[in-house]
């Protein structure tokens, strides 16, 4: 329970990788996959999600690739999580009420929702900038 997906971790690694390369530098998926040690195809999907969210920017064509779409202190871990996994739903009923058979009689939905919010606050508290500092120091 409560384990992050591999895709999210791929995405986070990719973003920190791009960050160390500087804001302007264009990097291909192939380079990142080789350097970080994971599947090119799968990372590619993660990058597409990050791009749609504006976290990464892409350049198409032969000399194309990805770069960061924002400065490192404008990207939080929560942003990456949402870009890749979509809106967070700690409980099934968050997706759609009828996903839970006891929705109408459930009394701790309120608590679960505040819990989810607190977790989001935790994720939003770390920017890529601060994460890189933490890793270095």
């Amino acid at each position: 329970m409560l384990q992050v997906s591999r895709k999210f971790e791929y995405g986070l690694h990719a973003v920190t990788y791009l960050a160390t390369k500087g804001l302007g530098r264009v990097v291909t998926v192939k380079e990142m996959a080789d350097e970080l040690g994971f599947s090119q195809e799968f990372l590619s999907k993660a990058m597409q999600s990050l791009k749609r969210a504006g976290i990464a920017a892409s350049v198409q064509g032969v000399k194309g690739g990805y770069m960061l779409g924002k400065s490192t202190d404008a990207i939080t871990v929560a942003d990456i999580a949402i870009a890749i996994e979509g809106e967070p739903h700690l409980v099934r009923c968050g997706v759609k009420a009828d996903r839970c058979e006891i929705f109408s009689s459930c009394h701790h939905r309120g608590y679960m929702n505040t819990l989810q919010h607190k977790i989001q606050v935790l994720l939003a508290a770390t920017t890529i900038h601060s994460l890189l500092k933490e890793v270095a120091g």
Copy 2:
């Protein structure tokens, strides 16, 4: 990502149900399943986990059933999560290092581990006692 399991929610509901019945009262799985509206067989597994963790106590035989094993302010949401899902592992490498192909080159393991710890602190901050008050108030 980061969704709690149904079994955990079943367990949490069961514990709050037992709590409202008072510490001494013995309740059968059948009664709880009927009352809360979920599968007897599946709830039974959750109760067995809760019992092993000391959160619930059981009485075997004809007039048997379950009751709380501790007072409501000695049980936290984290306790229930651990009883049912086992030790939390936000990242794959927490289970076993070789579950992650990039373990040796990963730089944000430290961050992920502190994140996990903070989530545990959140869960441990709510006792069943305080949860019930929150629901009532």
